[in-house]
Symmetry: C2
């Protein structure tokens, strides 16, 4: 286990009907609130009205940044910064999924930053500046952003989708009411679950030895997703399934499963290129890539970890490690497919046309060439992308 | 899953040789430090000198509260309060195991409390007052106090050992260097591991349904303890084993495995009476009680959870739930015994003499009669204590 710091001070208010706590929470930061949300689904589900009623009763001055995109764009961040500065905002309230919260995080930091918002994003994880306080109300179990300090912002003019983060961007308080995910449709529920699963996979497959705690937590959360996503797909209003997916999303990426392990992620850097060029659903891109990446990464050198994954996560009975590993990969693929996720790139409108540039950028924008579980150069990324063109079988 | 709040803001500095960060950490709170420690083992291992050298170089004014007992007493808390008030202490630095940190927590709160320290303890979990800031350097993987807001204090004059806690008592920063547990002897290593295991058991066996996340994390941490304690016993300087035990201790009792589930604990309330009357090692008392409590609690109504425990934690192959459950209990008993823990009460100097009063107090001081997984009245507690008089077999 490597040295690590774990400092996650977000105050999680988990459970049913806790919005009455919102005014008191906001009160500690100030009266002037920037409400950040996406395309209006929070209006359809009634959450917007519930929030506004409480803010009005509390005499908050509310300003709005709406229309945050599924892959939030730097232009939207800039729009938010302008409002925060013009209206002297005290606290941001993001109501939505990962995109909305990510956008709000960068607005919160960029408001207090002298340069342009994209310059801030380009500092990635080295950014150390302050940020306005952020409170979130989560409506999608997926990215884990509600309990961590990272955000991902897209710049379509440069075809870049990059992660950025600093402790100041950690939400102060996050409201996690599983009922707010009842209206998430099957496609987004599956994509969100794939995102959670992918975070666990990315942290699980690392070269650091002696990380039983992290790995056991990862395995447990993967089993939780495997069990509960199909229930939520079948019964969208099953509270326990939605609750377990939601809490798993937060714990999958708050440091519990990754801190103490080193190395870069593998599938996310590639998926970010897919989203940057084609604006596809992040979790779907990850689901398509993950089994093909696994197939690429499996070797005599890595077979022990893949076999452990097969045994501990998928309860594979086969005891020969290489065979067990292959069954584990197949089960991962089949699982995503059974959840209704399109499992080839052509199904989401992507062909080989931009594989070269995407593979090149995946390597350039990240450290997968030197720091990944199995290091990948441009040709390796291309090979993985090509494997995503058709249906696959791994056993 | 029940509604819950999870707000654990302790800044964990995990890993090797991070004490150079200590001066900067203390600096944010002030110059006047109360160093709290136990019987002097930190001097023998050199940690005292390492800490003092850094505090001296940082021009801290250091005062000392030493001699904190294994079951810390209210008299020691009072002594600490006096120093804090007389010397105008800015921050407490607890260097030691759970007892030392627990003592420091209550000193930190009682210093700012108008009444006597024992009156504060008697408020249990309802105490809401402020506390001086506390930094800890952990030297024993066991209680989890380094990352939670609770403490346990004994009053031998009234034969009471009671838990107390408030958010203000949560350590601000905790240094977790697994190397600081290398010198923990086999007996204390096993007892500490039994304590971790017991926290997981107490949170696992609850009546709340739909807590897959909490239960999967519990199972994973139990497997981590089961694997790593025997390694640490055999190789006291095995870094990975010590690291996994240490991080498991913090996560076992910081809310991850318990929040979202309701009901009172079962074994701890009984053990606290054993310790209050006989001053035995807490983890040993828990190890002795746990399998007998399991045997008491196992029934047709509870068999599913016990079978799940046997399958997921002990990898029991037997598929008949009641048989699997019994094997799981037997494995728990055998495991503690193999770790060198004396598994009967007479071996730790306890006979039936005070069973009546201890059973009575266990019920009076806690909510086990109404809120436990399987409710227990005085006669039930006595039955469990009686089962601890001789060696047991459960299959």
């Amino acid at each position: 286990m490597e040295n690590f710091t774990f400092h996650v001070s977000t105050d999680i208010r988990f459970g049913k009907d806790r919005l009455d706590e919102l005014p008191e929470v906001l009160e500690s930061f100030g009266k002037r609130v920037l409400l950040v949300y996406g395309g209006g689904s929070i209006k359809k589900m009634g959450l917007y009205d519930q929030v506004m009623a409480r803010l009005k009763a509390n005499n908050n001055q509310v300003f709005e940044l709406s229309g945050v995109e599924p892959n939030p764009r730097v232009e939207t961040v800039r729009r938010g910064v302008e409002i925060c500065r013009d209206e002297n905002i005290d606290v941001l309230l993001a109501v939505g999924g990962g995109s909305t919260i990510d956008c709000a995080k960068v607005v919160a930091a960029a408001t207090l930053y002298e340069g342009d918002a994209w310059d801030l994003v380009l500092q990635r994880r080295t950014f150390k500046g302050p940020a306005l306080p952020l409170v979130t109300i989560l409506t999608l179990a997926a990215t884990g952003t509600e309990m961590n300090s990272g955000a991902v912002i897209s710049n379509l003019s440069t075809n870049q989708k990059l992660g950025v983060g600093s402790p100041s961007m950690l939400p102060k308080v996050s409201f996690l009411d599983p009922q707010n995910t009842y209206s998430v449709n099957a496609y987004q529920t599956a994509a969100g679950s794939a995102d959670i699963f992918s975070h666990l996979i990315e942290n699980y497959f690392k070269r650091t030895e002696g990380t039983d705690v992290q790995d056991a937590v990862s395995e447990g959360l993967m089993r939780t997703v495997i069990k509960n996503c199909p229930i939520a797909l079948k019964e969208p209003q099953n509270y326990e399934a939605r609750a377990n997916l939601m809490w798993a999303s937060s714990l999958a990426l708050n440091g519990l499963t990754g801190n103490g392990k080193t190395g870069s992620w593998s599938c996310h850097p590639i998926e970010h290129e897919l989203s940057a060029f084609y604006d596809i659903t992040h979790g779907v891109g990850l689901a398509i890539l993950t089994p093909r990446w696994m197939d690429y990464a499996l070797s005599d050198e890595t077979v022990d970890t893949f076999a452990q994954f097969a045994w501990n996560v998928w309860n594979v009975e086969e005891r020969v490690p290489m065979l067990a590993a292959r069954i584990g990969i197949q089960k991962t693929y089949d699982y995503f497919k059974d959840c209704g996720i399109p499992m080839t790139l052509p199904e989401v409108g992507i062909n080989e046309e931009k594989f070269d540039i995407m593979a090149k950028q995946a390597v350039e924008h990240n450290k997968i060439k030197t720091m990944a579980y199995v290091p990948m150069d441009v040709e390796d990324v291309k090979e993985i992308l090509e494997a995503c063109l058709t249906e696959s079988s791994f056993v």
